[in-house]
């Protein structure tokens, strides 16, 4: 069983579009019924918008905790506010109150309160889902707006996907990753066999690609790069090639800018299923062929 993750650094380079296309392409060939899908972008989970899966299981996801002050026993000494490093305690209308958005859940105030008036309450911060899609089981989640704990939810999504793949003896776990390089990306990277970077040849895209490549290498995961919207700025594409050659990172294809992608998204289909002869579909299919071959050659 191998795990492929799709990352980018910069947002909007086409990770989800490519993941959906890969899921479709895998279902057409020798990897039919061999794939488990996971959407690790729990913050803004979009893969389900293309796959439109049928929900099988839904679970509450509890994250950190929030502090609550019992006004009955509070003596308004203000010690809590003095120790809070997150500006989460305010004095309004003669009461000390905790701002639930700012509260970090550290409980420092709990242990400093002389009247023991503060308690911590576990929070519901999101939902975890298991669904069935036309291209295979989909593990996904939704982190409620403004929450943290995304790393833990990503870990849950991937662990469950991985467990089913092992149970069912499937060959591939395909993970749609989040943007950025922080904790949700780090959690996505854990346990991956190969990371495909979807790079955008814009000045911003090239810069962010470098940072996410460094992140992935920091955690010891092998990476490959494909250049999406490659013809938008050829100089940018060249820069990506130069960087990758210098650091021995394989470039597995260039996908042209193609508005069919947006049309397919609106139609709720993978672009390769929607219009297989579209320039982007053809290019994505070539990238898939390379990536899956490299992935299956990895030992272990």
């Amino acid at each position: 069983m191998k795990q492929l993750i799709i990352l980018s650094g910069k947002g909007g380079t086409g990770k989800t579009i490519i993941t959906a296309a890969f899921a479709h392409l895998a279902s057409q060939g020798r990897y039919a019924n061999q794939v488990i899908l996971a959407d690790a972008d729990v913050d803004a989970a979009n893969l389900e918008l293309i796959l439109q899966p049928r929900l099988l299981e839904e679970q509450d996801f509890k994250g950190g905790q929030l502090a609550v002050i019992d006004q009955e026993t509070c003596s308004s000494c203000g010690d809590c506010q003095a120790v809070c490093r997150f500006d989460a305690i305010n004095y309004n209308n003669s009461q000390y109150m905790i701002d639930p958005i700012a509260c970090d859940g550290c409980a420092a105030c709990v242990y400093q309160c002389p009247t023991e008036s503060i308690t911590m309450h576990e929070q519901l911060v999101g939902k975890f889902y298991v669904s069935e899609s036309r291209y295979g089981p989909l593990y996904h989640a939704n982190l409620f707006p403004g929450q943290d704990n995304s790393g833990k939810l990503v870990t849950l999504v991937k662990q469950r996907a991985r467990l089913q793949a092992l149970d069912d003896n499937r060959q591939l776990v395909l993970v749609d990753g989040p943007p950025g390089i922080g904790c949700p990306v780090i959690s996505t990277t854990s346990g991956a066999d190969l990371a495909l970077m979807v790079a955008e040849p814009t000045v911003a895209g090239v810069q962010d690609m470098r940072r996410v490549l460094q992140t992935v290498q920091h955690f010891g995961v092998r990476a490959m790069v494909c250049i999406n919207k490659a013809d938008i700025y050829p100089a940018g594409a060249d820069e990506i090639e130069l960087y990758c050659n210098e650091f021995g990172i394989e470039i597995v294809g260039r996908i042209p800018f193609d508005l069919t992608v947006a049309t397919a998204m609106v139609a709720g289909e993978a672009v390769t299923a929607f219009r297989p002869e579209a320039p982007s579909s053809v290019a994505i299919a070539a990238v898939w062929a390379q990536v899956i071959q490299s992935l299956m050659e990895i030992k272990g």
């Binding site: 069983m1 509890k62 994250g63 950190g64 905790q65 970090d104 859940g105 943290d148 704990n149 995304s150 790393g151 833990k152 870990t155 662990q159 092992l166 904790c183 780090i186 959690s187 854990s190 346990g191 955690f219 010891g220």
Partner: protein, 125 residues
């Protein structure tokens, strides 16, 4: 001596759980007398640092060795600080904790000298 085995269930016959930090439960078994007790894993819903918390729990039970599927760097450091030996068993073959115990006694499990993976970084913010 006391051996801890990560399990999903609550008996010595329960299936082996390859996860450590977020294992469903632990079975603590005396390798000489065969006495055992199963505990729910207190770290299972930890926001972060599950490996640390699970390791602390194992240490507090007086276990001298633990068998799981993998140990992340924080779990490893904490268990090592407690001088608890770590062993791994393959996670994708169906074993019960009883079988794991037999494999341990027969010296068939691999002892690990370093964290087996880079950690799940379930922590956030």
């Amino acid at each position: 001596m006391k051996l801890a085995i990560s399990i999903s269930g609550n008996t010595l016959d329960s299936p082996f759980d390859a996860r450590f930090g977020r294992a469903s439960a632990f079975c603590i078994v005396d390798t000489e007398t065969g006495e055992w007790q199963a505990f729910d894993n207190p770290a299972i819903s930890a926001a972060g640092g599950a490996g640390v918390q699970a390791a602390q729990f194992i240490a507090s039970q007086g276990a001298k060795a633990v068998v799981s599927g993998a140990f992340g760097p924080n779990a490893y450091d904490t268990l090592a600080a407690a001088d608890i030996e770590m062993y791994i068993a393959p996670g994708n073959q169906a074993h019960s904790a009883t079988e794991i115990l037999e494999m341990f006694k027969a010296g068939k499990l691999t002892q690990v000298e370093a964290a087996t993976h880079k950690g799940y970084h379930g922590e956030n913010r």
